[in-house]
Structure formats: structure tokens, C-alpha cells
Symmetry: C2
Subunit: 355 residues, 2 copies
């Protein structure tokens, strides 16, 4: 169990770990807050991307530079301190050397190379606390979803996002599709782009929609963090519109979802936002490479037009692609429609339903 | 404001009004509870369908047969007492003659022929209370939705119900469609059938699915109240399966939604549950004759197959049929999928959304 001051310190560590100026990608985001024996906050630190100090080292350095003694202090960290020497030394050792007496950890390290920090600390007699409030543990897990997925599956996490009508249409018969959803749903897409390191579309979408694939605020200004802008497919397409401050462009000359993800993973991508079109989304679904499906469902009907999900090579109901409904949240736009955001995950196995 | 005893009496009046053995249709369902000056419940009554006593008369007769004096008593009714002489005498007069001192009314009568009861009672010096708790007022309104709609629009209320996949399919490419939704959603359809006086399908659905169109309990037993079973269209189809205890069958030899509703209205229908198929649902939507759309959305994808909503003669996005999302409720089936029930109403006017 955490003390109140530790709970507040963990909330703060999560906040600084999520620093929007820190790039997403192959390194985890981590925050650390140091507390004195009386619960006073002594120093804080966070990781700022590959090659920079780990969060613990950052906080310890700050305390040292202020001449603050750390004997018997508590370190509150969002992720298990590493026990290996990479580009920086092991954090578990650094905490021991600084005289830290207790370590609060919100999330264990799934990285087999770096883990072992908890064992190392406990072996040295340090009080290690892992029992943190559920909401904070969930926030710590969410912070590095893509990074953890990459460690476990050696490919980026894939979130597919589609806007569609109640009857499953992504565009009207004449091709018009802007805008199917209201302002609230469209704003949410821009927020989604800031939580993923890469946005991926097919050549068809790149050619027809000429999307900028930037993450913008409602006032049109760019968010500080911009995703890599990836286009995959074998058709020739012009480059995406040039936007000052937008993420880098990358062209993946393949129609194979696995190959595209492998190339993006090698470039450091850990969380890909797949924004269509229907053919590409269907290809990823068919390949079992969609980890999360977000549907922005507009309360409208078209009766005809382009389906939001293209052919999945399913001809009979028993072969359908079952998903698990995780969440349904209305997205009201003031004075406009209330769209619905559905979040779905793959089901481990399809369940057949007795009549 | 109501006394506690009056609130309880109104809840009871609503309960008896909803007696499942009373047919729906052209007469309102009404309940009445009589309370003594001390708050004691003296007698209750309810209306049992065309030609039988009104709820107030039923309760008064019961009190009389028990020899209970009613001078200064309170009558709690779910609907404004009528002021006209139809097949029975005016209830407002009957309450006055019985010596009732106060009348609590949950819902005013929208029927221009029968209304005036409140004025009559007040003119006679009776204390009339209309300020009832919102939940009870809503229940009183819901009790006679179809009946009120019929008075206002001279046609039955139409609830269209469709089961579909996330990508808008009602059946797979080979025609298989049973079951797209899970047990919880399917059970809800049977409950819906008990709240409507008529179930309507097209000849295509009648021929392909050969539905019984009965309202059944999960154990297969018939509900006490069964809807009229209507099939519309000009194609030849066999009659619906004969089921002992099922509602009467009616064949409407028209493809015109307005004509079908007029014929059903003349037969006493006040709330029609439109259960498809896609062509018929589209025809009603195109005609602006769907008052409520209930979608059972299954968390599954097909990528191909029969669309749940057929062509609406819409070719461009600006002409889309906008609806208002009123409610989204998950329908979990134990051990099975969690479907989503969406309730939508027509939007008075389509709203265009700035980019």
C-alpha cells in the first residue's frame, strides 16, 4: 500500500513521463520522483528518448546538483528500474549507491534484457513496493503500450481507425466522404495521432484524400508531437502534402501488412495508427494484424456507397470475424450529431451461438 | 407534489395498467388506485380493452361492492379522466358523484374528444394534482406511446428493428444470417414484440426466414400478449407458420408503406414493429415513416454480404439520412458476445458540418 504522498508522487511521475516533447518509439517513457523520509518531494526526473539519461538517473542527478542527501529517501518510478548496462548504467545500482531506502514501482519491466531491477533491489535489502492503486497502474501500462507490445511480439501495436455510417459506409455512392462524422470525432482522430508514433495509409487513400496525416489542435496548430507519416502499397502516388513541422514521410513499397510492419518496427515504430482505406484495413484484419479497432460510428444512413471494410474473403456467417466490444462512448458535438466511438479488440477464438 | 402514499399508489396504478393480459391497440391502458384520507389503499381498477369499464369506473365499482365510502377520498390515475360519453359514461362525472376530493393525474389526455376531465374536476372544486415525479410521468407516457401517436398522427407508431454487423451486413454472402446477434439481443426482440401490437415483415423475409413472429420467453413459451402478424408486399408467399396461441395473420397486398400503415391503423394497430428485411426497412426510411430505429449491432465483421439497409436513393453525402442517437446500451450474453443496442430517432432537419 502507498502513502498518500507516494500516490501523489506517482501521479506526478506519470505526468512528467508523458512529456509531449519526448518522442514515442523504441524507448519507454518513464518518470521518477524522489521523496524524503518526511514525504517531501526532493527531486524529479524523466527519460527524454534514446541516448538520454534514464528517469532515475535524471532525478538522482538533479538531487545531487541541489546537494540534497538521499539516504533513506523513497524513489517512486513508473517502470521497474533497469538492471542492465545499455547506453546508460543500470538504474537499480544507481538507486542503491544513492542510499535510497524504498522504491515504489507502478509497472514491472517486460523487457527480458533490462528486467531484474526488483530482484537486485530486494537482494540489497531495499523495501520494494509494487501494490499501487489500479488507476495509476493502468496509466503506467498505457504509457508504454506500444513499447511493451513490441517487446512481446516484435512488431508494432496496430490500432485501426475507421469512420463509418450505421450501415457500414465510408463514402456515398459518388465518393463523397467529408465529413461522415462530426467535429468531436474528428478532433479525437488528431489526439489519437499524438498517441501513436506512426500513421499508416494505403496508396489509394494517399491519392484520393491527399491527407496531411498531421496531429492538429482544434485551432489548426500542430501538436508538439507528430507521427511518422507512412504510405504503403505498390501503386505510384505523389508524396503527401508538405507541412512545416509534420512528421517524416516514409514509403513502404509493399502490399503485405507483415512486411510493412516489419519495416516500420525496424525504423523504431511501436504503435501504428492505421487510417485506411477499406482495402488496407481489410488486409490487416485478414492477416490478424489489428490489435485494436476504433470505429467512429455516425448516426446516419446512406443505403449505398463504399463499404468501410472491404472484402474479408468471408462467404458464410460461421467464418465471420468476431471482435470483443471493449467500450462504447458517445462523442457529442455541440449543436451537431452525437457520434459513437466503439473500441474493439480481437477475440481469442470465435464463439458460436446456439439458436 | 405528491404524498409518499400517493407516489406508491401511482406506481401501483401504472403496474396494473400494464396488465399483460390486456390487448394493446386502439384503447389506452389506464390504472386507478383509490386512497382514503388516511392514505390507506381502498380499491384499485384498470381498463381491460375496448368495451370494458374505464379504470376509474372499475375502481369505483370495486369500492362500492365492498361498501367503502369514498367521500373525501383521493383517486390516483395514470391518465386524465375522460369527460365524454363513449361506450361508457364520463369518468370525471363518476369521480364527482362518488365524492372524491382529490385527483392525482400522471398524464393529460391528448385525445381532443375525451379530454376536458381536468377542467371539469377543477370547475367542481376538486383538488387536481398534475405534478408527479418525472420517472412516473415518463412511465405513464410510455404506457400508451402508440395510442398517443395514433391520436396525433392518425397512423401507428413505427419502430424499425434490425440486427447487423459492425460493417452493416444483415447476412453473409451465402445468405446465412442466423444468428448475427447473441442470445441477449434475440431475447430482447421477443420483449419488443410484446410492447407492440403488430409485427410487420415483407414478403421476402416471410418467404426466406419463415418467421413465426411470436413473442416467446427464453424457455420457448409464448408470452400472454401476442402481436398481430402482418406481411406486406405484392409477391406470392405462403402463410406464416401456424403456431398455437400466436397472433392473427394479416396480408397487406401493397408495397407502399403509407397504405400498409393506413390499413393496419384501421384494424386498430397503434404500434408497429417493423422487422425487415432490408428492402422494406429502406422503403419506410425513405418515406419518413420510421419513428424509432433500434439496431442490434453485433461486434463482428463480414466484409461482404447482404446490407442491412437497402438502397435509399442517396447518391451523395449531403443527402444522407441523419438520425439522432438517443441511447447506446451493451447487451452482454453470458459467455458470448456483447452486442450493442442503438436507439435512434429521426432528426427534425439534417445538419451540415463545417470541415
Amino acid at each position: 500500500m502507498l502513502h498518500d504522498t507516494e500516490r501523489r508522487a506517482l501521479a506526478r511521475a506519470l505526468e512528467i513521463a508523458a512529456d509531449p516533447s519526448v518522442p514515442l518509439g523504441p524507448n519507454p517513457r518513464v518518470g521518477c520522483v524522489l521523496l524524503g523520509a518526511d514525504g517531501a518531494m526532493l527531486a524529479e526526473g524523466h527519460h527524454r528518448g534514446a541516448g538520454t539519461a534514464h528517469a532515475e538517473a535524471d532525478a538522482l542527478a538533479r538531487a545531487r546538483s541541489l546537494g540534497i542527501p538521499l539516504t533513506g529517501a523513497t524513489a517512486v518510478v513508473t517502470l521497474e528500474p533497469c538492471a542492465h548496462t545499455g547506453r546508460t548504467g543500470p538504474c537499480a545500482e544507481a538507486l542503491l549507491e544513492a542510499g535510497i531506502g524504498r522504491v515504489v514501482i507502478a509497472r514491472t519491466d517486460p523487457n527480458p534484457v533490462a528486467s531484474g531491477g526488483i530482484d537486485r533491489l530486494r537482494a540489497a535489502g531495499i523495501d520494494v513496493e509494487l501494490d499501487v492503486p489500479e488507476a495509476l497502474a493502468a496509466a503506467a501500462a498505457a504509457l508504454n503500450r506500444g513499447w511493451e507490445h513490441g517487446l512481446r511480439h516484435s512488431r508494432p501495436l496496430v490500432t485501426a481507425k475507421t469512420a463509418l455510417t450505421l450501415d457500414g459506409r465510408a463514402a456515398a455512392a459518388d465518393g463523397t466522404s467529408q465529413w461522415i462524422t462530426g467535429p468531436a470525432a474528428r478532433e479525437e482522430v488528431h489526439l489519437l495521432r499524438t498517441t501513436c508514433d506512426t500513421v499508416l495509409v494505403g496508396t489509394g487513400t494517399a491519392r484520393i484524400d491527399q491527407p496531411t496525416l498531421t496531429a492538429r489542435r482544434p485551432d489548426g496548430a500542430l501538436h508538439p508531437r507528430q507521427p511518422l507519416r507512412a504510405v504503403m502499397g505498390t501503386s505510384a502516388v505523389p508524396t503527401l502534402p508538405a507541412v512545416e513541422g509534420a512528421g517524416q514521410q516514409v514509403r513502404l513499397a509493399t502490399r503485405d501488412p507483415s512486411a510493412a510492419l516489419a519495416e516500420l518496427f525496424a525504423r523504431g515504430a511501436r504503435h501504428v495508427l492505421l487510417e485506411g482505406g477499406p482495402t488496407l484495413t481489410a488486409a490487416f484484419l485478414r492477416a490478424g494484424l489489428v490489435d485494436e479497432l476504433i470505429l467512429h460510428l455516425a448516426p446516419t444512413l446512406l443505403g449505398a456507397g463504399r463499404p468501410a471494410v472491404a472484402d474479408l474473403a468471408i462467404s458464410t456467417l460461421a467464418d465471420r470475424l468476431d471482435l470483443e466490444l471493449v467500450d462504447a462512448t458517445p462523442l457529442p458535438s455541440p449543436g451537431g450529431p452525437t457520434d459513437l466511438r466503439l473500441t474493439l479488440h480481437p477475440r481469442p477464438t470465435s464463439v458460436s451461438h446456439p439458436a
